[in-house]
Symmetry: D2
Subunit: 312 residues, 4 copies
């Protein structure tokens, strides 16, 4: 009854003998379930590069809270990524980390005790409050420069000019600034950046503003000017949607990889698998497999994707 | 060994005799697992009202895609909600629905076939493309008015003035406009609203803009002016974070209910349970139970929460 | 473009006016996402009854730990359920609850402290250790009777004869015994029942045994003798698989409702949606919608399913 | 404010220069979220070995459906595992794979079409029906031998004697038989093994039986005789609970690693994190970190755990 079944055999990695990481990763393709999805993601990411696609990387803020920040900075520095889209927490935290590290913490901490010690919890990471005191001062100086000539600026300008002030090679903003990679962040207010802008307007200059239509135009045009596009969405939310929505203008993204813990059954954008986006024309429908999703927490699989597709 | 255990017995609803909805809902309190969480949520929502709290409702766009739109409109109309925070899809879809309904669909549809028929899939809902053609025209007329006097406007002004043009009692924008409930939406570009603003700028007036700092100031002040605040976050993302972040300025929200499918273990803001926000000072730490989370898809439980806490 | 779309409009419940529970439940059908799944589940459960199907209810042990125990006992007592399939914890806990209640507890308790106080945690429920001391004694007396005539018995005989000793109308075992509903439980050892059988064999009679093939034969024959079958699987695991696997022998179950938090993408049986079982012939493929799944935690939705389909 | 914070800095892997797999895995420890959980799991698995613990590996059936079968067989062959606990599907599928492979498939296949072609879908794997025809014949011969001398046998004897008939080095049953590793499987009927036992009893010998108390005694004693125990639970269900429950008799397991997609909030055993088991005394409470959980689909992370802790 299986005459027609010409697909590969299910077969896992053979651990006997010397361990070979690349072979193990290849064996993921025939291991099944999400391992196969990851192998497919690596394959699609390689196709993006072979096709010389304009690559968009989107990520949620917690990715930058985590040690994946350094991995994202690497991708930008090496020229693998052409457009970054993220949320405001990423910007705040990337700047902090250029001066003071986040610390390893615990999921089940006593929140009231932490509050008293001035320690903020972010999953299993701890962020002492002094980080934000430092950030406030850093940003005040920056705001003065940033709004000096023009009162109303854009999030991409904010990210770029802020990045230029930094000198940590592991900073995503610095690498983006140095490598001409725009960083889109429409909801720029939704993090400490927004809080300090509030204080700045209250205390120094009530007329400064952030305008978001200009950036949206540029993002649409990034897509329309590109011959081929590839999206890697790490997590969901606004960044993921911003990437697929603006790719609609060019008839859909050509190559797409999602890494997500989202649940399809809640009807959310974050949980929507790539095929939903095909019906909208946000992802191209193709004969070949040009999109996939890995259902996994990103810190587990994003380094493997990078090791498999974006490293020597 | 259980001398100290003075908590209630675990005991479910007794279905014998005539069915009594309120009794069934009360039995959730002693049913355990998420039923108990829902009963706690109802209790906290009632406390918000007893304390005359300023109530923030935050929701993701798919809530408005679904039949919960009518429930949110009801809450605004009846004066139960004082501040709405959402994402851009909510605005686009609320307007469409004043003229043309969304249709029931299927999860497992053939995406390429849908694409050919001009049907967009959103979970198990279908949205024919003509809705967006209609929306584009509707918005063009609106944009002209909206930007007539001032070129640079805010998302709350956008929502309010757009709401004023509508006359469907089930519209959240109309009810918000009529009842002076501000609708915050920092990432206003991230939906068809943004696309049509792009076209508008290309075709009619390249100088119009959306500025987001003004709104953030107001949202912070909504919180600082309130004696007591209560948050109901339906889903996560920017809306949830916007509400807790700005409540930081007043020393934390007093009452909080989250309804979420998010996963705590991914370190995301969407999956973060309320106690994480306590460490940041975004939610007040209290002797009494003043916050809870229901881990569930919202269409299942939000009507129960409203039936339990916000209806006669 | 939507000429062909003859499906209902997406439309939620209208909370204005007097609250009507049945109308609210009906509105779930057009609310979308999981609400629609629940409405479909209610509809299929009603079809089971109209078709006079032999109804299998399968549940995991935690369902009996929770207040859903009383709901399951109700379904058995009222004759709505013909076959019960569960895991061993259900039996142990159902018996305990006839004498001593479980208590409401907390998710985030200090485990070491609980351990010292002799309190076992089960999600947000607490079970003081004295319950198990009591159970041990109760079962010893029962074992003596149970193994008096035959040394090697079956799980169904165990459940039935144990049920006959109980006199709590909320006991699933008592109701099953009284109403001739077999209770299948192949992994009978995997709970305190197994532990006390171990002690009993060590201390009293090393020759007693539990044989599981006889029961499997009966379960297969339950299915083959039935004209029509309906399955309601609350949670996954062995009980769910036992029901669908034995329905294979009759060409598949006719009506199927799953309630589950399982994840499809892990390839697990627990997460597998009904359509996977169609490929195996475990569920019949039908023109009409004869199966569905609600992705939700059961304590939230099972009472609604019962209220909608199994109550006056 | 962070004087006390002596935990490591959050810091991801540095991809510059030549890729070093072990260094990347080490960097998981300070990457945060689930990466840190995985690093902890590797560390605990190494501690198990340093302490010369009796290691229990538990897995659900789909693990053996996937390419992790070969990885489990490797662990048994190399002597890393002392006790295996699983469900019945594992036994059926391991035997089939000694003769005929499972094939790679697709999640979104047309189920009715598959049914007609005689292809069974298991997540994204395909299993042509001829596999089960072959298995039926193979097992008939085996049953004859197996029940020849004794009519009532145990699951462990079944697994061992079946394993002795096989000669595929990638077979978990063969490696277990060769290396004296008992394979516990209390719900032995709940897979095709049970179906063919049914036919065998109908057609050949109605008196054969499977008794499960003997095995439970042995499993308890495996634990009581061990100086130190370590558990690795891949997935949940009966296997996971069987391991922790029988470790109760020795005062709890010493080292525990869970890999699971289960949800804590549903109160299920599969979703219960290790600390819940501490309150029951199923896991020892220790000063050091002696247990952890990785929230992930196993095919993604189990190979990494093995590469990090169980390979040269
Ligand atoms: N560190 C922070 O997380 C942080 C800090 C300050 C402000 N904020 C703000 O909170 C708001 C909401 O955050 P967001 O939009 O960045 O996204 P989010 O954290 O709400 O995540 C959105 C979705 O992405 C997926 N996801 C998130 N983390 C994942 C992971 N590790 N692996 C796989 N999938 C994952 C999940 O499905 C999640 O529901 C934003 O405005 C942001 O600026 C966040
Ligand atoms: N191939 C099969 O899955 C198969 C075949 C035949 C029979 N069966 C039978 O079905 C019944 C139920 O199956 P089960 O008890 O083996 O477990 P299951 O498949 O129902 O899984 C139980 C839980 O383990 C976790 N889990 C499963 N797969 C995982 C993964 N890949 N990664 C991380 N976590 C995972 C999930 O939380 C899941 O809910 C058993 O009696 C079994 O014999 C299964």
């Amino acid at each position: 009854s299986d005459e027609e079944l010409t697909t590969p055999d299910v077969q896992g990695y053979d651990f006997r003998g010397e361990f070979d990481f690349q072979k193990m990763l290849e064996a993921y393709a025939t291991t099944g379930f999400q391992a196969t999805q990851l192998a497919e993601a690596i394959d699609i990411a390689e196709q993006m590069q072979d096709a010389d696609a304009t690559i968009y990387l989107t990520c949620t803020s917690n990715i930058i809270s985590s040690g994946l920040r350094e991995v994202v900075a690497y991708l930008v520095r090496e020229g693998y990524v052409d457009v970054l889209i993220t949320t405001a927490g990423s910007l705040a935290e990337d700047v902090i980390k250029t001066a003071k590290p986040f610390k390893m913490g615990e999921w089940d901490a006593d929140e009231a005790a932490l509050r008293e010690q001035g320690i903020n919890r972010l999953g299993n990471l701890f962020v002492p409050s002094d980080r934000y005191v430092w950030l406030e001062e850093y940003l005040y100086d920056f705001f003065e420069e940033f709004f000096a000539d023009e009162k109303v600026r854009t999030p991409t300008a904010f990210a770029r000019e802020l990045g230029e002030t930094l000198d940590d090679p592991n900073s995503i903003l610095k690498q983006a600034a140095d490598n001409d990679v725009p960083v889109y962040c429409p909801a720029l207010t939704d993090a400490e950046v927004g809080n300090f802008l509030y204080y700045y307007r209250q205390g120094y200059d009530s007329e400064v503003g952030i305008e978001i239509l200009d950036d949206y135009d540029s993002l649409i045009e990034d897509g329309m000017l590109a011959d081929t596009t590839g999206l890697i969405a790490v997590g969901g939310g606004v960044p993921k949607h911003h990437a697929i929505m603006t790719n609609l203008f060019r008839g859909g993204a050509d190559y797409v990889v999602y890494i997500s813990t989202g649940m399809e059954g809640d009807g959310s954008l974050s949980g929507a698998p790539p095929n939903e986006a095909v019906s909208w024309g946000k992802i191209k429908d193709d004969e070949r497999t040009n999109y996939t999703q890995v259902e996994a927490e990103a810190t587990l699989v994003f380094p493997l994707l990078v090791a498999g597709a974006f490293s020597e």
